[in-house]
């Protein structure tokens, strides 16, 4: 199975059956993840339907400038992961790694902003996990998403290590490709969080 000598193909991620299997399995996995997040959103919506008298409520709590910064970091990181995949298809290792590094860094910026946000809520507003049902569902939904982002950065990091050793070939390309799919998915979930939690919390 020496892929190093094989000629480079334009779509190395789906060139082999193994690659096709991974690609399909990952789409199925994302289907399952959708249910997972749907349940969390459902719980959040169910428990925040009536927040009258709950202190602090979402409109007092959320600060849009920080959230805007986090959103930008994550949306741009989705773009950079696309640029990385484009370079992968061109078999340009250095540029691909560069764009994946940018993706990882933006992911870390996002996680840092989120940690800072949680820290502020807990210390300044005394809004802890056990405060009330709104707090539990808020931290759980956001935490699951943040955990996904953080896990994604570690995942992409191990893939960068792998490509250093093995280069871009039909074994590594499917892994890189599905990692970027995952990254887009996490991004899409954030768009929903931004709308359902923050925007509706502010104006809903």
């Amino acid at each position: 199975m020496s892929n190093h000598s094989a000629p480079f193909v334009p779509h190395p991620e789906t060139a082999t059956l193994e690659g096709k299997n991974k690609f399909l399995a990952f789409w199925f996995f994302l289907g399952g993840e959708t249910v997972l997040f749907a349940c969390l959103f459902g719980t959040y919506l169910g428990l925040t339907r009536d927040l009258s008298g709950v202190e602090p409520g979402p409109d007092q709590l959320f600060e849009l400038p920080t959230i805007f910064a986090a959103t930008m970091a994550l949306l741009i990181s989705s773009l950079t992961s696309v640029l990385a995949i484009i370079q992968m298809r061109k078999n340009n290792m250095a540029k691909m790694q560069f764009w994946f590094w940018v993706t990882i860094l933006l992911g870390w910026v996002f996680v840092g902003l989120e940690v800072n946000e949680f820290y502020t809520y807990v210390t300044v507003e005394d809004f802890t996990y056990s405060s009330n049902a709104f707090a539990s569902s808020f931290y759980t939904l956001l935490g699951f998403h943040g955990g996904h982002v953080f896990f994604g950065t570690l995942w992409i990091l191990t893939l960068i290590l792998q490509t250093l050793k093995k280069g871009i070939n039909t074994t590594t390309a499917p892994k890189l490709y599905i990692a970027s799919l995952y990254w887009h998915f996490v991004d899409v979930v954030w768009v929903f969080i931004f709308t359902v939690v923050y925007l509706m919390g502010k104006v809903g």
């Binding site: 199975m1 059956l17 096709k20 299997n21 399909l24 399995a25 199925f28 996995f29 289907g31 399952g32 993840e33 249910v35 997972l36 349940c39 969390l40 459902g42 719980t43 169910g46 428990l47 709950v54 996990y129 056990s130 405060s131 009330n132 049902a133 709104f134 707090a135 539990s136 569902s137 759980t140 191990t158 290590l161 792998q162 050793k165 093995k166 074994t171 892994k175």
Partner: protein, 611 residues
């Protein structure tokens, strides 16, 4: 050692079957204890607390640790053979799935020795499970979480296997019914199990980290648990029964020497049932107070499931009609399934009538209904499948004489146990109560019910005896084991199948490919490729280490409620788990190749042994 490190789907199938059967015996003993306790009024054989633990563990064990792995066992052993594949799409992940299930089950059962088993019912309704129940519930949450992760991986694996790895010519509408049912089942697993994951996480966070999801005094709502649990739980019922439908279709058509009647409608019925499975979860909650509109919608959806199910029942009957029926044990179980399942389905429609459900709710009528469906349906189906495919999996037949005793004792015992429970329910006997007063007159029927349970117990012992006897001195099976009546691809290769399954990938030209070839005078299926090198995956120790890491992490989390420092144990377990994932991802294992000469030798040796 080979069994611990194996990534071969056939061996993993056997592992699933064996451990599933072990847990089936546990669950069975729990069932017998329940029936002993309820045999006479005001019995004090078990205390209320122990009874609650046994009832909870009986339900949880039977569903998650006995019948689910039995299904996974059969699907692992058979589906790749039916579609002409050399293995599943992800052999390594397949091993991980098995070990995750296994350690999840072990973790759950450790609770017996470490402070008491879970006692909130297998549905773990909040706030009982959330606030009032102790350590046992933590075992429930983490044991199921780990086992569930394995199941989800297994589901994805089989979806990809069936979509991508079918032999050339095996189009969707030529797929054997069992494989079709496993495909739909896997779709249900994919969309149902994440809901369970979240439900368990919420319960976990409430219990260990002071969350307020199900605590009304802090703004929580216990009904959310019921919604999430049944969004998982109702599809789960179909995850259990659809494989039985698939088994039945294959067993009946083969043992009646006829093509399955109405193949297209059988497939459509499966798809439709799979879809409707997600539309009916609130019928478990009619008495919660969701309102008349919600209740009506869910009632109609529930009743609608009877239509595709009826289609299947009639198609089985039409397949039998005019067939050359052989009354093998496998076929007896299949035939026993039909009337029993129809009865279970009928009471299901009765329960779907909302106004009537207010009477039936939480009574023994419900207990009778779901045991008719799950035991009378699924367990009969599994027995049929196990007797049918045993020679293919192990290369030896199970003994037919013991098998028939097994069937009749189980069949009679089953009806004796659960038929009277309908009446007990209508007479007002509630479920989950550990005893009842004598003057209500429930004693006689409960006694009959307990005798029936003893019959089923004896039948299970006979089955165990059958396995032991035939594994020592069983009749050897040929490739096309059952009278040469095999219809699908798995019967076209030797029994047990060689590690590479098919020396040459078969070319499928018709539905029931092997049958069609035999009818055209061929003794084997046309190959789609010349004899060439076969690429096989290597065994790996990583899956068991990884799952063991999850097991340790589970223990750490369970005891963190009492002692925060056990979170370090949890972290250690997670480190093992993620560490072994990292090792697996950094060191690619390219597997090994079998060369044509070696294959030729092996194949001719097999031919010689069979002749």
């Amino acid at each position: 050692m080979d069994w611990i490190t194996t990534v071969d789907h056939k061996k993993i199938g056997i592992l699933y079957l064996m451990s599933g059967f072990l847990f089936f015996l546990f669950g069975g003993i729990e069932a017998i204890l329940i029936r002993v306790q309820l045999a006479v009024p005001e019995n004090d054989f078990l205390s209320g607390e122990i009874y609650n633990q046994i009832v909870t563990m009986h339900g949880t064990t039977m569903i998650f640790l006995a019948v689910m792995p039995a299904i996974f066992g059969l699907m692992n052993a058979i589906v790749p053979l039916q579609i002409g594949a050399r293995d599943v799409a992800f052999p390594f992940m397949n091993a991980v799935s098995f070990w995750m299930f296994f350690f999840g089950g072990v973790l759950l059962n450790c609770s017996w020795f470490l402070g008491g088993a879970p006692a909130a019912g297998w549905t773990a309704y909040a706030p009982l499970s959330d606030i009032y129940e102790g350590l046992g519930m933590d075992f429930y949450v983490l044991g199921l979480q780990i086992a569930g992760a394995g199941t989800l991986m297994g589901g994805i694996n089989f979806l990809v296997t069936i979509v991508n790895m079918r032999a050339p010519g095996l189009t969707w509408m030529r797929l054997p019914m069992f494989t079709w049912s496993i495909f739909i089942t896997s779709v249900l697993i994919l969309f149902a199990f994440p809901a369970l994951t979240i439900g368990l996480f919420l319960l976990f966070f409430d219990r260990l980290f002071g969350g307020n999801f199900f605590d009304p005094s802090a703004g929580g709502n216990p009904i959310i648990w019921e919604h999430i649990f049944w969004i998982f739980g109702h599809p789960e019922v179909y995850i259990l029964i659809l494989p039985a439908f698939g088994i039945l279709s294959d067993v009946i058509s083969q043992h009646s020497r006829k093509r399955i009647f109405g193949y297209t409608s059988m497939v459509l019925a499966l798809v439709l049932i799979g879809f409707l499975a997600f539309m009916v979860w609130a019928h478990h909650m009619f008495t919660v107070g969701l309102g008349p509109v919600a209740n009506s919608v869910f009632a109609i959806m529930t009743m609608a499931i009877a239509i595709p199910t009826g289609v299947k029942i009639f198609n089985w009957l039409f397949t039998l009609w005019g067939g050359q029926i052989r009354f093998t044990t496998a076929n007896l179980f299949a035939l026993g399934f039909i009337p029993t399942f129809v009865m279970g389905g009928t009471t299901g429609v009765m329960l779907a009538v909302v106004t009537a459900d207010f009477q039936f709710h939480d009574s023994y009528f419900v207990v009778a209904h779901f045991h008719y469906v799950i035991v009378g349906g699924l367990v009969f189906g599994l027995f049929a499948g196990i007797y049918h495919w045993w020679p293919k999996i192990f290369g030896r037949f199970l003994n037919e004489t013991i098998g028939k005793w097994n069937f009749w004792l189980f069949f009679i015992g089953f009806h004796l146990t659960f038929f009277p429970q309908h009446f007990l329910g209508l007479m007002g006997m509630p479920r989950r109560n550990f005893t009842y007063p004598a003057e209500l007159g429930w004693g006689d029927m409960n006694f009959i019910s307990s005798i029936g349970a003893a019959f089923m117990g004896v039948a299970t012992i006979l089955f165990t005896w059958n396995i032991v006897v035939t594994s020592i001195k069983g009749e050897k099976a040929k490739g096309d084991a059952w009278y040469g009546d095999g219809r699908t691809l798995e019967w076209s290769i030797s029994s047990p199948a060689p590690e590479y399954n098919f020396a040459q990938t078969p070319l499928v030209k018709e539905f029931d490919a092997f049958w069609a070839e035999k009818r055209n005078g061929n003794d084997r299926v046309t190959p789609a490729e010349p004899l060439g090198e076969i690429h096989m995956p290597n065994n790996s120790i990583i899956p068991i280490i990884m799952s063991f890491g999850a097991f340790i992490a589970g223990f750490g989390f369970i005891f963190s409620a009492e002692n925060k420092s056990s979170l370090f144990v949890a972290a250690f377990g997670l480190a093992i788990m993620f560490g072994s994932m990292l090792v697996h991802s950094l060191y690619d294992d390219h597997g090994h190749h079998l060369i044509p000469d070696e294959l030729k030798q092996k194949e001719s040796k097999r031919k010689g042994a069979e002749a």
